[in-house]
């Protein structure tokens, strides 16, 4: 295997990991506030179709990212109103959001079938990416660099800011946070909105970074993997980054198995490669959940409705 081939693989892996990373980061913050939103897949699809439509109409991928984030946040508010204001069951509401987002994106995306869009071009001048090292460092979509910045920002926010401390307090002990005067519901609304916005961007990364074409249900279950990833990462942004790249790599193997055939399919039939990320998720969840490092890290109020006694 040549170095150039490995670089090409690396670039594909980065592309495949970015959507999961965005969506996972958003869900991590949501869950840290004590809310389990299982609607990630639906919010990603809504973000994807909103982003695709924006590029298709305006040709501006930057605007598409903003619109995708707004669309993801907007649709997450349906979940927030139901679970936070009306104390609806979070598991069921999250599922409803996924069903809704899947239907809405398919319906809205119908007219874009077959349209190609102009995806992001790299932000760095071409000469920087001329040699191999430059290529590894500078040849990605701006969204990729943005995802790394967001990992750092989320870590900093959760661990080094007062607002992050409040958010964690709300997730660990909602009644105490409420009794010392913080708005539990307000904090959770904000956390759900952030999760929605990040899922929206993650969804938009499919057409903007991976393949500049519209396809029905193009996220293919990556939203669910992002939720599993948060557990896998023990609610820590750094480990989430590593996990996203691990699953990105597994997803990439499927592409290479389909494209290059024999070498891969001698080991495992191509549908087996396609199933691998999901099987690996189950195995990873089993290992992490069984160990003390994983299961014990979950925010104490995760998934529980908050009903002030007044």
């Amino acid at each position: 295997m040549s170095v150039d081939f490995l670089i090409a693989v690396l670039i594909t892996v980065v592309g495949a990991s970015t959507p999961i990373l965005f969506a996972g980061l958003g869900e991590l913050v949501t869950e840290k506030s004590g809310v389990l939103n299982l609607g990630v897949e639906g919010m990603m699809l809504v973000g994807a179709v909103a982003g695709f439509a924006t590029v298709d109409l305006t040709g501006n991928p930057w605007l598409a990212v903003v619109v995708a984030a707004a669309a993801g946040a907007l649709v997450s508010m349906v979940f927030a109103v139901l679970t936070l204001s009306l104390s609806a069951n979070q598991v069921a509401t999250g599922l409803a959001l996924t069903i809704f987002g899947t239907g809405l994106s398919t319906l809205m995306g119908k007219s874009f079938t077959g349209h190609g869009i102009k995806a992001f071009t790299t932000i760095f001048p071409d000469w920087l990416a001329n040699d191999r090292i430059g290529k590894v460092l500078f040849s990605y979509s701006p969204l990729v660099y943005f995802s790394f910045i967001m990992v750092g920002l989320v870590w900093w926010f959760l661990n080094r800011t007062r607002a992050g401390l409040i958010l964690r307090a709300v997730g660990e002990n909602d009644l105490s946070a409420h009794s010392i005067g913080y708005s539990v519901t307000g904090v959770r609304y904000a956390a759900v909105a952030f999760g929605g916005a990040m899922a929206g961007i993650g969804g938009a990364a499919f057409p903007l970074v991976l393949t500049p074409l519209w396809a029905e249900g193009l996220t293919g279950g990556r939203g669910w993997i992002a939720i599993a990833l948060v557990v896998f990462a023990g609610w820590k942004p750094g480990r989430l980054l590593a996990g996203a790249y691990f699953f990105g790599l597994l997803g990439t193997l499927e592409l290479y198995a389909k494209a290059s055939g024999t070498v891969f399919t001698a080991l495992l039939p191509s549908e087996g490669w396609a199933a691998l990320p999901y099987l690996a998720t189950i195995v990873a969840l089993a290992i992490i959940s069984a160990s003390k490092a994983g299961g014990g890290n979950a925010p104490a109020c995760l998934g529980k409705p908050f009903i002030p006694s007044t």
């Binding site: 069921a92 509401t93 959001l97 809704f100 319906l107 939720i227 557990v231 069984a290």
Partner: protein, 366 residues
């Protein structure tokens, strides 16, 4: 002026039964508005999706055929949700059950006898239960969240099915279409109403639903499931095992989903193909909630959702409404139902203002 929620002394039984009806009606109204807003004939869409299948008597058979898997999977999920154990992977158990039964069908394709069909049905149940056993084992052994594991297994099931119907199980006489051979006469469910697809499985489904209603409301098993779900610590003190309940829920709902899968193969489909999964496993989650987790309610809810399946097809052919639209209607139904849950335990009052101003009627959109 604001809304105030006052806790009721005890849950309202009226609201328990009225809210699902309200949710369906609101879905029709809001659905019409949404579809009008995005440029379709909104009221026409609602008519096609919800009313037309009932108005056209020749569609009733279709409704029954589509309601059967929704009810069968839905009653299983209702038991699980009662225990607050979440089987989101019924779609996978449905597929694997169908695969297991189809496997028996392929092995017995040259044989004859009345034992073949029952064997296929049993294989379907075993296949579904086995696929459901994995999340149960993972939850009990390794503390793995069953929502995620059961869902991941659905994707694995789809790829397993794709591999089999495009590879070893592909019909050798099928002009290389990705599908299995048609089942034989000995493998078919008897048709009850000539000229329709109304098959024996529908009757079995109804018997199972009524039996589960009896078990859930009258037996110790039903009591155990409800206590584990609503009062976990009381369940522990009462000697009801959480782990045992997890097994019970997944084996039961998995077996029923698997049975639904093999009913589809031996009934309307007569083979397996890439288009076999119809999302019944996911829609059944809505059915379970809309039926208030009561097996008798699930029968009614299954019929309502089956109407949207039949109506979705009608809307597609009559109004060129994309098939995805029925998913939006179905999700809206669940949203409204979940939103209205609060009315069961709380009374809503408007406080701090005189009588609310009348809401202006919505003018018909252009």
């Amino acid at each position: 002026m604001r809304l105030k929620f006052e806790k009721r002394a005890e849950p309202s039984r009226f609201m328990l039964y009225a809210t699902p009806v309200g949710a369906v009606l609101l879905t029709m109204l809001v659905g019409a508005i949404i579809f009008t807003a995005i440029g379709y004939n909104g009221f026409g869409a609602v008519y096609q999706v919800f009313i037309a299948p009932l108005a056209l008597s020749y569609k009733w058979g279709d409704i029954a055929v589509k309601a059967s898997p929704l009810i069968l999977i839905g009653v299983g999920l209702a038991v699980g949700n009662r225990a607050a154990i979440w089987n989101i992977g019924a779609e996978g158990q449905y597929i694997v059950g169908a695969l297991a039964g189809t496997g028996i069908g392929i092995l017995t394709k040259d044989m004859h006898g009345p034992w073949i069909l029952p064997l296929m049905l049993v294989a379907g149940m075993v296949g579904g239960a086995a696929w459901g056993a994995v999340p149960a084992l993972l939850r009990n052994r390794f503390n793995v969240n069953e929502v995620l594991s059961s869902l991941m297994l659905t994707y694995v099931a789809v790829h397993l099915m794709n591999q089999l119907v495009t590879g070893p199980w592909k019909d050798p006489m099928g002009f290389s279409f990705p599908q299995t051979a048609l089942i034989t006469a000995d493998q078919m469910l008897p048709i009850l109403v000539p000229g329709t697809y109304v098959h024996l499985g529908i009757v079995i489904t109804l018997i199972i639903a009524v039996a589960l209603w009896f078990l859930m409301s009258r037996s110790l098993m039903g009591f155990q499931v409800r206590v584990v779900g609503s009062a976990p610590s009381a369940a522990r003190h009462g000697g009801f095992s959480q782990k045992q309940t997890v097994w019970l829920v997944f084996l039961l709902s998995g077996a029923l989903a698997g049975l639904a899968g093999i009913f589809e193969v031996t009934g309307p489909f007569q083979q397996m193909s890439l288009g076999f999964p119809q999302n019944y496993g996911f829609t059944a989650i809505i059915v379970a909630f809309l039926g208030r987790l009561n097996p008798l309610g699930v029968i009614l809810a299954g019929i309502v959702l089956a109407i949207t399946y039949v109506g979705g097809d009608l809307a597609q052919s009559v109004l060129q409404l994309p098939n995805a639209s029925k998913g939006i209607f179905q999700a809206l139904m669940l949203f409204f139902l979940l939103a209205s849950d609060i009315l069961i335990r709380y009374r809503v009052r408007l406080v701090g203002a005189p009588a609310p101003a009348a809401v202006p009627a919505r003018s018909p959109a252009e």
